[in-house]
Symmetry: C2
Subunit: 271 residues, 2 copies
């Protein structure tokens, strides 16, 4: 992150994390601990930052997007907890820490994910537009639908791989931009620009992730990726192009600076 | 069910099921089939009927509770799909049919549950009161919290067993009564009566289930139950008492007939 983006994020993330870690106060102590464990990952909080930046891009106080930011992180975290399960990706580690099912058992990990997803809707209950948006982005034709495509395998071309990632990771990132817009009272034209921004950033992140993975791991085996299909140079160029599309959309908004910086951050991780 | 209750239900359930089976139209065909499979169980649709009856008890057209009824059944169904998973109760059959993970695999069953839960919120997005209610009833201090207590075992007295079931099954039944009330514009006094009704019916159902299980299965082993703790006669009497409490609450409302019949149905299954 650029120093200005990092400073802006540092002004928002501590209050955001305090609110996030303060959820589930009424749950039984043992369950509360399990629920909070995957939230305390030290992740980059990209989806919350996108929601804050989208609200800010319309001239609003970014903190108006706090419920949206919490909902997005709760839903993103549930998806990681369930993706890590033995029946899914069977991962023992997540960001260097044991996954929820390794610490608390598989049954608890299923229930932790279920409760995190449910809580995601609780925090935005006051906003029908946000509930609609999050449900569409997270559900059967969004994130979960993308996960189904992923476990089915077989995205052997750029079109189907793009479709898979537009759902699996892209839908929630698109929702982050749009929910930030809802929080700031976006008009139709602004919402449309945020939608284009979110779609481009979402895909840019995934292409950039594939480039990072390829640079860190020379193994020729593995699932289909943009690097496998486009080559390393091709994928790097595609990430850059998507970043430009995102910045172009952001610059239609009154105060695009943070959205632009976040789009550049999405891409420049690769370089 | 009494003939009048059955006739009333028969006037509501077909349209309800058509709307339920019509969800997920936009999902990919294979996933859509898996999502609809657990919805087509031929279950009694008790939670939807409670929501319809609660709306009707306030003098409203019961069909105003259709979104609530759909949300309740989607969330109830997700909970069954996840409860049946190998890491949870490991059930191969549900109402005589193979469980979702037996038909579609464990990963798909996890994702089917996730998508059903998410869709539950999509259908009531327009009502902040319903989203709040459903999230609280289904989440970490509601149904999922009760499931955590259940897998932890150890409800060896009536107080803790009541607490477990108040969450695991009671919270969603209570929410059914209240959401039906929201659909009909319940005032505070009516909502309070519906809450008492829902709490009593929810527990009555569970006590009656334990009585049914005890009558059908003479095995002395098994998890703690109201029959084990109160004896068969004691549990039967407790179910009857709870039915009376529910009917008393219902009769504070303008048109209590269906709520009363549903409460009697909850109890008289045992006799």
């Amino acid at each position: 992150m650029t120093p200005s983006l990092a400073a802006w994020a540092a002004g928002l993330v501590p209050d955001f994390e305090a609110a996030l870690f303060g959820r589930f106060e009424d749950a039984d102590p043992g369950f509360r601990e399990a629920l909070r464990y995957p939230l305390q990952t030290g992740g980059k909080r990209i989806r919350p930052l996108l929601a804050f930046a989208a609200a800010g891009a319309l001239g609003a106080d970014p903190r108006r997007a706090l419920p949206a930011a919490l909902a997005l992180e709760l839903v993103h975290t549930y998806s990681l907890v369930h993706d890590d399960l033995p029946a899914m990706d069977d991962d023992d580690l997540r960001r260097g820490r044991p996954t929820v099912h390794k610490v608390y058992g598989e049954a608890m990990a299923i229930l932790v994910g279920d409760a995190l997803l449910t809580e995601g809707f609780a925090v935005i209950a006051e906003s029908p537009a946000m509930v609609r948006e999050l449900a569409a982005a997270a559900g059967a034709v969004g994130m979960v639908g993308g996960q189904v495509l992923d476990i089915a395998g077989g995205s052997q071309d750029v079109v189907s791989l793009t479709r898979l990632h537009a759902r699996k990771t892209g839908a929630l990132i698109r929702a982050a931009a749009r929910m930030g817009g809802f929080a700031a009272g976006a008009d139709a034209r602004q919402l449309e620009a945020l939608t284009r921004y979110g779609e481009a950033v979402g895909l840019a992140f995934q292409v950039a992730d594939d480039v990072l993975d390829a640079e860190q791991d020379a193994a020729p085996e593995g699932p289909p990726s943009f690097v496998r299909l486009l080559g390393l140079a091709g994928a790097t160029a595609e990430a850059s192009r998507l970043g430009d599309v995102a910045c172009g959309a952001a610059e239609e908004l009154p105060a695009a600076e943070r959205l632009v910086e976040l789009a550049r951050f999405a891409v420049e991780r690769t370089i």
